[in-house]
């Protein structure tokens, strides 16, 4: 077995590494095009003469996250196995975003291997990686691309050297194909048979000659997911599918209000005597453990029955009595002031409200924990496993080295698994009971006590004179975002951000490194303020924190500006954009989507752009707001307007797997549609009303567009940008813009149905979860 390390620190060496150095250098050049962008504005005669410059143009969140991984890039290793396969224990989480496939393609290309001989697994928590085991900010492929290739290239060169040494011969003229090394005289040897001979006793620093882009055979070609067969046959294993001896089903009876805690169980003996139940125990609510009353039993079904039978005395929660309107008032009071008005200019101003929305993947929070007096073993989908390991050790009073954290395949995340709530809770329960547990949250708990996208407002004021935009001011005000996960520590260490109780320092860093206005709108200011301590509500990134909301507010105001100047929304954007790549995706989306085609009354097109993660995106949406469509009846379902067609043009720099990239954009589009039109949580009296997928209206088939076309632009870089969250902002904004044009009304609160009468009867809060249905055989088809 050969283990090799790739280190970016070697890039600046002369010799074989020069190609790397050049490519990275270009990468940085591509990352810093501001002055060029400014100069390009001159070729657009229709553009206003008041250019805009923002610091985020030069250094953004992607740069920060990637920079944080560089000191430990040499710890990224690939292994060559005797059976001819190559293994990579990836220090990132796979939650559906497809990075196991993209990374396998990258390794296969660099090593001249067939894709099916690369095995990508998920690494256990590795504390020595420090900041290099965090899956977030759509950063994985951007940060892994070079280290993985360097490691793979070094392995390949080492194998070639071993082949020459073993067979005897000159090093020149050797060819490699499909894991077989062939010497000029025709003799050949496979990777697998050299795995031992190529091994080195210790890591040494060597240069790596990376393949030029023109030599890629897999990168840039559409490849199906490496786990597709396992998925369609039911063999893919998620945390709850693992068999850990003694880890019986365990659930928690949760408080009727957010962050409430259990004070006493009034019928413990009765519940303990229920069929199948083995344990009942109070788990205190802490800063890290949601808690309540844990029940453990033979089946999850019996745990559900036990939870419903529990009589618990509950303490207060963190937001008792509060409703949407209270939070909205608190946000309004905290909004940072806009600059002084300019009486000589025309002014447009609007405030947009974005309600709470769930952070739920389809797999509910879950984890397996086996805590013993001397150590603990944890299994869960974790995007920040090093932090989780450290915190679990602290919570349990164990040394970090006594805690093993396995990262399982995740059934979705969207940011949720940056937090380790289920792992913390499972560990606490296992320690208290002295038994292994397989913890699963009920769906209703996930909605009501789970993590949510923070409610926020975005106020925008634009001034213009004639056909020039003079200023664009945006004041974003949000319920505090929780940064207690590893990203917070990363920001402290990398960016010098001071930790605070309310984490505003972290939030502002993320905001300042992501919010942008890609137009020549003169003086641009964007600022964030937050309310409440971080643990007042349980918040997290939900496929972005700020970008979709910032983008929606901005793009709606762009449409208003276009109207005010009597210009078409597409042509206005094309004229004012100060970025060549954005103009290219905008042009592509408009062309493929046939922007401006005749639309029936009550229907309309909308178009919007977004820049983030080193990428550019433009989305064209067609929406149907006709009464016939809005009034469609679906039993226990919400219909409303339907987005009928989406065209999405995306430039991610270097697309690794266009098929997977299109899938990510498609998913982001479904999120964008939901967030604009239907998907939110209603806060009433200290709890969220939604308790099932028939209450929280994520996109369903009846609201799925009949046509979705994603166009992957040709490479504009030697490095991949981000994808996981990149489909959301532009599609949400385009949907909002299309809604405005179809209805002739400016939507100012999102989703647009949030303030309509509730479309469902809220489930009770005591007991906290509904009974399991019994009518399954009456609903077959």
């Amino acid at each position: 077995m050969a283990g090799t390390g790739g280190e970016l620190g070697r890039d600046d060496q002369a010799g074989p590494a020069r190609a790397v150095s050049r490519r990275r250098f270009i990468g940085y050049l591509i990352a810093a095009p501001t002055l060029v962008a400014g100069a390009q504005l001159a070729v657009e005669p229709a553009v206003a003469a008041v250019p805009t410059h923002q610091a985020v143009d030069e250094y953004d969140l992607t740069d920060l996250l990637t920079d944080a991984t560089k000191p430990t890039a040499h710890l990224i290793t690939v292994e060559v196995n005797a059976d001819g396969t190559v293994s990579f224990a990836m220090p990132r989480a796979e939650v559906g975003q497809g990075i196991t496939t993209a990374v396998a393609m990258t390794i296969a290309d660099e090593m001249d291997l067939p894709l099916d001989r690369v095995r990508v697994s998920l690494a256990d928590a590795r504390p020595e990686l420090v900041w290099n085991q965090l899956t977030g900010g759509s950063n994985s492929m951007h940060s892994l691309f070079f280290p993985v290739r360097v490691a793979a290239a070094i392995a390949r060169e080492q194998l070639v050297s071993a082949a020459v040494q073993t067979l005897g011969g000159a090093p020149g003229g050797v060819s490699v194909r499909d894991g077989v090394i062939t010497l000029p005289d025709g003799r050949s040897v496979s990777y697998g048979s050299l795995a031992t001979a190529a091994a080195v006793p210790r890591t040494r620093l060597v240069g790596a000659r990376l393949k030029p882009r023109s030599h890629y055979r897999l990168i840039g070609t559409p490849q199906g997911r490496v786990d597709a067969l396992d998925i369609v046959t039911g063999r893919k294993q998620f945390a709850l599918d693992l068999d850990v001896p003694g880890a019986l089903p365990t659930m928690v009876c949760r408080a009727p209000t957010i962050n409430g805690s259990a004070l006493a169980v009034n019928n413990r003996a009765q519940v303990e005597a229920m069929p199948g139940i083995t344990d009942v125990a109070i788990i205190p609510h802490t800063a890290f453990v949601p808690g309540g009353v844990a029940v453990r039993g033979e089946t999850f079904g019996q745990c559900i029955d036990a939870i419903r039978a529990l009589d618990v005395s509950w303490g207060p929660g963190s937001v008792d009595g509060k409703s949407d309107a209270d939070v909205l008032a608190d946000l309004g009071a905290a909004e940072l002031p806009l600059g002084p008005a300019n009486p000589a200019a025309s002014t447009l101003e609007e405030r947009f409200t974005f309600y709470f929305r769930p952070g739920d993947p389809l797999e509910t929070n879950c984890a397996i924990a086996d805590v013993r007096p001397t150590g603990a073993e944890i299994w869960s989908s974790l995007k920040s496993p090093i932090w989780a390991q450290e915190q679990i050790a602290q919570n349990l009073g164990l040394p970090v080295t006594a805690v093993t954290v396995h990262v399982t395949q995740g059934g979705g995340s969207f940011g949720r698994h940056l937090f380790a709530d289920a792992a913390f809770e499972a560990a606490a329960i296992s320690q208290k009971l002295g038994k292994p547990v397989k913890l699963m949250w009920h769906r209703t708990d996930n909605f009501r006590q789970g993590r949510v996208h923070p409610m926020c407002t975005s106020r925008v004021r634009v001034t213009y004179s004639g056909r020039n935009v003079l200023s664009f001011e945006q004041r974003h005000t949000s319920v505090g975002t929780d940064f207690t996960h590893g990203l917070g520590e990363l920001l402290s260490a990398t960016y010098g951000t001071e930790p605070k109780q309310d984490f505003l320092g972290y939030s502002q860093t993320v905001f300042n490194l992501s919010a942008n206005v890609p137009y020549n709108f003169g003086a641009v200011t964007q600022a964030l303020n937050e309310i409440y301590d971080y643990n007042t509500f349980n918040t997290s990134s939900v496929r972005n924190i700020y970008s979709p909301e910032v983008c929606v507010a901005k793009e709606l105001m762009v449409d208003r500006l276009a109207d005010a100047m009597g210009q078409d929304p597409f042509r206005f954007r094309r004229a004012f954009l100060r970025d060549r790549r954005l103009r290219a995706v905008l042009q592509k989306a408009a062309q493929v989507g046939r922007w401006g085609r005749a639309m029936a009354p009550g229907t309309a097109q909308g178009i919007a752009v977004h820049k983030e993660y080193k990428g550019r995106a433009a989305c064209l949406v067609e929406i149907d707001c006709t009464p016939a469509t809005v009034s469609r009846q679906v039993e226990n379902g919400y219909t409303g307007p339907r987005v009928t067609r989406v065209v999405y043009a995306v430039d991610v720099g270097l697309p690794i797997n266009p098929l997977g990239l299109k899938a990510q954009m498609m998913g982001g589009i479904m999120d964008g549609i939901a967030q604009a039109l239907t998907y939110s949580l209603h806060l009433r009296d200290g709890h969220f009303l939604e308790g099932s997928w028939d209450n929280a209206y994520y996109t369903r088939q009846w609201n799925t567009p009949l046509e979705v076309e994603v166009i992957v632009m040709p490479p504009t870089s030697d490095r991949p940008g981000g994808a996981g969250e990149f489909g959301v902002a532009a599609s949400m904004a385009a949907t909002a813009c299309a809604y405005r044009r179809a209805t002739g009304t400016m939507p100012t609160s999102f989703p647009v149905n949030h303030d309509l009468p509730l479309g469902f009867t809220p489930l009770p809060t005591v007991p906290p979860i509904p009974p399991s249905p019994t009518d399954g055989l009456q609903n077959t088809f």
Binding site: V95, G96, I231, Q302, P361, L362, M440, T699, G776, F781
Partner: protein, 158 residues
């Protein structure tokens, strides 16, 4: 404790369990059949969709005592065998169209899709957009457009 007998993926199985335990937990927790997933336990998300005597149903919503000894339960693990192949055409279409992302909901999606196509075929008509709109399975990754494409393609092969 009562014993419950039924046919699971072509094999007769017996399990000792309280009458009221829903079939999903009998499959997953007692029989170790993990293809059907828990997504809500309320008959809403449809992640656990399986077949009973060839019709789609949600085992999270059926007490095990309601299952008769002659009932044939098919989970995703047993789907291919119902057509005597390594993969059912619907599973193959899922691979061909690279439908899955995280994959958690997809066993249920596939089982529902097969029943939808069979139902349309039984009434002698092709799959329509209205049929596809009627699928209630939640996919939080948002794979819906590819699900529609895959179903339409598989319907030609079934």
């Amino acid at each position: 404790m009562p014993t419950h007998t039924f046919i699971l993926n072509g094999q007769s199985v017996s399990v000792d369990c309280e009458d009221g335990v829903r079939l999903l937990w009998v499959l997953r927790d007692l029989l170790g059949v993990k293809g059907p997933k828990y997504g809500c336990g309320l008959g809403v998300c449809k992640a656990c969709t399986c077949h009973i005597n060839g019709r789609a149903f949600n085992p999270c919503s059926v007490p095990v005592a309601d299952i008769q000894p002659s009932d044939e339960i098919t989970t995703i693990e047993g789907l291919a065998a119902t057509v005597g192949r390594d993969l059912h055409p619907m599973q193959q279409a899922w691979i061909d169209f690279d439908v899955a992302q995280c994959g958690y909901c997809q066993p249920g999606q596939i089982m529902a899709a097969v029943a939808l196509v069979e139902e349309a075929r039984a009434s002698g008509r092709p799959i329509t957009d209205a049929d596809l709109d009627g699928l209630r399975n939640v996919c939080r990754c948002g794979t819906y457009p590819r699900i529609r494409e895959a179903i339409e393609a598989a319907a030609q092969q079934m």
